[in-house]
């Protein structure tokens, strides 16, 4: 090969205090290819890309762009070197138009008008060249998530980027939108752009990349041609041991109805209706999976069931009606009804990050009689309970005194799970059980959910990961815009049909 690589990193190392985020990483990305970087949370993918984009400075190592050694002290330098970045959380001004967002920070002079006119012309050209049509005068807040992502890509292209880095780009997209994104990426590759795709989803890597690099614990464990590898092999490289990619489970034996929701409506603070008359049932011994793109009312459903959002309608658990507003609509009374709740966002809701693990084990159950001695809390009892839970749920390190923030995502989730599941609830609400959780822990968490189901408990599972919904659910309900679009059985449907339902399309 005579062409110089578009990007070459040599021996990049970066430490944050005692944590070695990147360790001697070398990588070559050839121009006109899509290069995947896959790894678990905390493997160092984002750190590496932040170094490339000038957010962090590497402790050691060299960066070559198109064969030239380049210093990237800040993002301006990265842009000048032709690197564009599409972040997982878009960096767009909501109440600006598409055009205004595109020229933001790249205005030509003191006056906006000529810049906007010029941007409008180039935008049309870009749209033509890459099939990236957008409405230039629409406000960001009025266009969909897929479109917003397109604006981010256009922003980079407008700045003459020929190397694009996309960080977990499909996290917020429906399957159809993701397919569309991949078509665009294919087109960009055909036009000679170089693309780095960061993801933790094996399927995306297999679908679209030419080469893939696997990161584990700050090191690059392998770089292989995608065509010559398999998902199982990649998973093993990511985790460092063989992993089960599917969940072993027997068919469900549903019993009586545990949770019955009728015509549930919830309004948010601004008065916008987020749940528009949802009805569903979950029986003992089954998992009902709620699929849907984030933000279509699943969070509100969990919140009102968990007792910390108010709504109207009826919810009964074991035949007893729950209060949906007022004094008894709180987490304490929900727990008294035999409902346990693993919330979607463990860092904001499920745990107090500053508290030690043992304090978190009592969280929500601090009124429990066995955690009391007289008017004081029985901290010794809570601590020994925590030790048992940590052993049974394989929490590492098994140190009850360690603050929650010092555990990895997977271990934090295990603490929440241990707390909620060991209450032996009649109904488990569980939101995004494996978000930000490493593959090794995913397997364990999935097994726990199925084990609870097999004990004859009802499980309501909310997840934006369609694979997870397909793997765990006995029935699947799809939510879109505050409504249930329909229910399907996992063996009688496929991702395509669910994807359409998730986009609000019923045939």
């Amino acid at each position: 090969m005579t062409t110089a690589p578009a990007i070459e990193l040599k021996g990049i190392s970066k430490a944050f205090g005692p944590v070695q985020a990147n360790k001697d990483i070398s990588i070559r990305v050839m121009p006109g290819t899509i290069h995947g970087i896959i790894g678990e949370n905390g493997a160092g993918k984002s750190t590496l890309m932040s170094i490339l984009y000038g957010f962090y400075k590497a402790d050691k190592g060299e960066i070559f762009i198109k064969g030239n050694r380049t210093q990237i002290p800040d993002s301006q330098a990265a842009i000048a070197a032709g690197i564009g970045m599409v972040f997982q959380h878009f960096k767009l001004v909501e109440n600006f138009t598409v055009l205004e967002n595109i020229i933001l920070g790249a205005e030509d002079g003191r006056w906006l008008k000529p810049s906007i006119a010029k941007a409008r012309r180039s935008l049309l050209e870009l749209a033509d060249d890459y099939g990236l049509s957008v409405e230039p005068d629409a406000l960001i807040q009025d266009i969909g998530v897929g479109m917003q992502q397109r604006v981010e890509i256009l922003k980079a292209l407008y700045r003459q980027a020929d190397i694009l880095i996309l960080d977990e780009p499909t996290g917020v997209l429906t399957p159809a939108e993701a397919d569309q994104l991949f078509r665009i990426l294919g087109r960009l590759r055909a036009e000679g752009k170089t693309i780095i795709l960061i993801t933790h989803k094996l399927r995306e890597i297999m679908d679209i990349t030419d080469t893939v690099s696997v990161m584990r614990r700050g090191e690059m464990t392998a770089t292989v041609k995608t065509a010559q590898t398999s998902p199982a092999e990649l998973a093993e490289l990511m985790v460092g041991r063989k992993v089960l990619l599917r969940v072993d489970k027997t068919p469900a034996t549903p019993g009586e109805v545990i949770l019955d929701v009728q015509d549930l409506r919830v309004r948010d603070d601004k008065g916008v209706e987020r749940l528009k008359g949802v009805s569903l049932q979950v029986r003992a011994g089954e998992v009902l999976g709620i699929a849907g793109v984030a933000g279509n009312g699943q969070s509100e459903l969990l919140e009102v069931l968990g007792g910390y959002a108010e709504g109207t309608g009826t919810i009964t658990v074991n035949g007893q009606p729950l209060h949906l507003s007022g004094k008894n609509a709180d987490g304490q009374s929900r727990r008294a009804h035999g409902i346990a709740h693993v919330p979607e966002d463990r860092q904001r809701e499920g745990l107090i990050m500053e508290f030690a693990a043992w304090e978190n084990v009592a969280f929500g159950y601090h009124h429990d009689a066995r955690y009391q001695s007289g008017i004081l809390m029985n901290n010794t009892a809570i601590r020994s309970d925590t030790e048992g839970k940590m052993a049974r749920f394989d929490v590492r390190p098994p140190d009850p005194q360690l603050a929650a923030k010092n555990f990895s995502g997977g271990n934090q989730q295990k603490i929440v799970l241990a707390r909620e599941i060991e209450r032996d609830p009649d109904l488990l609400l569980i939101g995004q059980p494996t978000r930000g959780v490493d593959i090794g822990a995913i397997e364990f968490i999935h097994q726990q959910i199925i084990a609870l189901r097999d004990k004859g408990k009802a499980v309501l599972l909310v997840s934006v990961e369609l694979d997870e919904i397909m793997a765990l659910s006995d029935r699947i309900a799809v939510m879109f815009d505050g409504n249930i679009m329909g229910e399907r059985l996992p063996n009688e449907t496929d991702e395509k049909e669910l994807g359409l339902l998730m986009a609000g399309i019923t045939q």
């Binding site: 910390y308 987490g331 966002d345 990050m353 009391q372 590492r396 603050a403 555990f407």
Partner: protein, 372 residues
């Protein structure tokens, strides 16, 4: 992983801050042509060199313990109670009423009664901003500041128009009856054969303040209420998930806070002045904020910080008395201590964290990531 060991966090950081404040104060004293070493000597002998000095230092420290604890408990719920001044003033009213209108047979009963009355008045005064915060979302910082002014005006009215004895020109209540006179440290230590200055105002309230420190430690770290308060302060969204009622937590926390500030009046009103005068709090409510900041909202830290500020207060008074250093400069020195220990915490913490990191890196040349 915590970057610094605990001892560095709770001892080294405040100590370095204090040292910096001292150095800067010394420079200021030098700049006006006085000798900083002589000034320090004078402060130390004035505040700690005699039982008289200690008596004043501990008297001030008692005030600061109450107000410092008041700010601390609110901090744990992430509520910023700036209203200690007003709550202590109202507490003074409660103490005065209890002392003037109830015929107590013995000082010990009077102390309990007056402490309850002071706490009740202080708590009631804090309850209004708390309710406004919990129900209407009015920011507690703004409302508690405003309530300091309202308290001052209210007290002015009550003293001038209602409680002033006939014929007196002084906006103050009558002297409390002799039966409610609290034993001073002199009275208490004399039977033990310890000679303590007769004219120093430190009194039995100091023991109440120490008891309050212990009580608060149990409350914060050993009770369900304390657990809920800390949870709420750390993460409101998580507290909601757990089913902890935010309105109740805000109300109860602020009332405990106001109650503690109000209890301060057993020291300054009942123990020292033995009548209620205008501006009896003398800024102790605000010093409480600095004490809580420096004490990291921990009762033990508050205890130590309160004594330090007592020393600064008494030492400062001595400086003003015996040197040509103007009184305003004493305030500057106190402000420097507050600035360094409270506001500029990170200025000391960040370099110190870096030092600890390099030390650790040198000890273990290749920091491996933990198997988690």
């Amino acid at each position: 992983m915590d970057v610094m060991p605990k001892w560095a966090e709770v001892i080294l950081v405040p100590l370095i801050s204090l040292l910096l404040a001292a150095i800067l104060s010394a420079l200021v004293i030098l700049a006006i042509g006085e000798d900083p070493i002589a000034a320090v000597k004078l402060m130390v002998t004035g505040a700690l060199g005699s039982t008289y000095g200690w008596g004043y230092t501990l008297y001030y420290a008692t005030n600061f313990m109450f107000t410092g604890l008041a700010v601390s408990i609110a901090f744990h719920a992430r509520l910023f109670n700036i209203g200690g001044e007003g709550q202590a003033a109202l507490g003074g009213l409660g103490v005065a009423l209890a002392c003037l209108y109830i015929p107590w047979p013995h000082w010990s009963l009077a102390l309990v009664g007056a402490a309850c009355a002071g706490a009740l008045f202080g708590a009631a005064w804090a309850a209004i901003p708390a309710w406004l915060q919990a129900k209407r979302g009015s920011h507690i910082v703004i409302t508690t500041i405003m309530f300091n002014f309202i308290a001052a005006s209210l007290l002015n009215y009550v003293l001038v128009n209602l409680l002033r004895p006939q014929g007196s020109m002084d906006p103050a209540t009558a002297r409390f009856p002799e039966t409610v006179h609290l034993p001073t440290l002199h009275d208490m230590l004399a039977p033990l054969g310890i000679e303590f200055s007769r004219s120093a105002p430190a009194n039995v309230s100091l023991l109440v303040a120490v008891a309050a420190c212990i009580f608060l430690w149990f409350l914060i770290w050993r009770t369900r209420l304390g657990y809920e308060i800390r949870s709420f302060g750390n993460s409101e969204s998580a507290a909601k998930y757990a089913g902890m009622p935010p309105v109740k937590i805000i109300m109860v926390t602020m009332m405990i806070s106001g109650g503690l500030a109000g209890m301060m009046a057993i020291n300054n009103v009942m123990g020292e002045a033995e009548r209620l005068v205008l501006n009896s709090v003398e800024g102790a409510g605000f010093i409480g904020i600095a004490v809580a900041l420096m004490g990291r909202s921990h009762p033990l830290g508050v205890f130590v910080a309160a004594i330090l500020f007592g020393f600064l207060y008494q030492g400062g008074a001595e400086l003003a008395l015996w040197t040509s250093i103007p009184r305003e400069l004493i305030v500057v020195i106190q402000a420097l201590v507050i600035l360094f220990t409270g506001a500029l915490d990170n200025m000391v913490r960040m370099p110190l964290e870096r030092v600890f990191l390099t030390l650790r890196a040198r000890r273990a040349p290749k920091p491996e990531r933990k198997e988690v």
